[in-house]
Symmetry: C2
Subunit: 243 residues, 2 copies
């Protein structure tokens, strides 16, 4: 799919030009990184969805120096996160800020948001919940694949972005027929309990910080005090998120 | 080892009674959880250490509503984290606070600290760096085992505490001869790159937030807005950190 077609189809769904552009960037970034289940296929998926309102705007519900809470308020999660991030970069924390976005789904590839924050100069740690698809072997599904993404700015202009889902495969892989639902288990093989513990911990983190039940996003933003990436990059190994 | 002997040996090292008690609690908690490399053996290890000052006290370097930075200032890491946590519980954030502890090592079993915060009513997410022992296969060691611990308060009085090291085995296991140094790799088997990405991300998170190079601790504390643990516990499965 080319950009012109993508933008046109997103605008046809009712998104404003700047929102369509932000969504296109997200899907195109995913595609270039080989995460095709977060890529162009999501445009057809949006076209098939009910229940999102392209004209909704996320609402800032609480704004303290170190803590912001937003309600996606019917906005699709991608746009709600982007809106809160743009506002955060316009008014960055003096030191650190926790962002909680309630009622916020789907949010896409969290590394994309972490990279946006890091390119804007802020350290970012972000997680988001999704339908419960992970559980212990033979047990109930109690946690989403709940990725954890960490973005670190760098003076060389190339942030490091780790973006790790707790599932051995993605739900997108299952939907695309590239993996079976049985394969959607906590990653780690014999040490599956480690990824399961992280998925449960992140699930409860979000569930404890939202004021109403539902999927949500928890994001920490902080000003860096040091610039550790260039030295690490000088070792010549491939770093998380590098193409 | 019984408590009387443990406390006596810790006081003989110069620790004040309340500090010796806090250290004993930590080691005893580790022992009861089967994490013996974080348990009583650490007392003999402390007896063998140079370079820590039992009479040092951690210094609060910066204190904003949503951000505190401390310097362990020669205090052993366990005590520095405990001191910062006790101060945080005495003066809890209205919503959320990021704690950065510089020059802070060793910190022990992070789940112990996360549980202490959660028992005090605060959601806690904490990581800490340690000597670089993880790398890609055949590559340089660039990240500590950098655990991530998440503690969630519960109205049933039993917090959930996930505490996950990014290593397939612990350094303590290597020291105790229970594992070889070759086995100290990112966990995950074929998906080792996921735990490696998390270890690198957490390493850079700490390295970007400290003002001077060195091991450090980054901890998020937040007031819960909801109480998701009892419902999850009602499903009857074993949750992270349950005995």
């Amino acid at each position: 799919m080319d950009k012109e077609e993508g933008i046109a189809r997103l605008q046809a769904l009712g998104f404003q030009p700047c929102e369509a552009e932000a969504l296109w960037e997200h899907f195109d970034d995913a595609e270039r990184r080989g995460k095709t289940s977060h890529g162009y296929a999501r445009i057809a998926w949006l076209e098939s969805l009910d229940g999102f309102e392209p004209h909704a705007v996320p609402v800032s519900a609480l704004r303290d120096e170190g803590y912001w809470r937003w309600d996606a308020a019917g906005t699709i999660g991608y746009i709600a996160v982007r809106t809160a991030l743009v506002a955060s970069l316009e008014e960055p924390p003096e030191h650190a800020r926790l962002l909680v976005l309630e009622n916020c789904f789907p949010t896409g590839m969290l590394g994309h948001h972490a990279r946006f924050a890091a390119e804007g100069g802020l350290v970012c740690v972000v997680t988001a919940t999704s339908p419960a698809r992970l559980g212990p072997p033979g047990g109930p599904k109690v946690a989403g694949t709940n990725p954890l993404a960490i973005g670190i700015p760098s003076s060389d202009g190339r942030p490091v972005v780790a973006d790790v889902s707790m599932g051995a495969v993605t739900w997108g892989d299952v939907v695309a027929g590239n993996a079976s639902e049985d394969e959607l288990v906590p990653f780690g093989g014999e040490q599956w309990h480690k990824a399961f513990a992280l998925a449960v911990g992140l699930q409860l983190l979000v569930d404890a910080l939202v004021t109403r039940p539902g999927h949500g996003v928890v994001m920490l933003l902080a000003r860096p005090e040091a610039d550790p990436v260039p030295r690490l990059r000088s070792l010549g190994l491939r770093l998380p998120g590098d193409s």
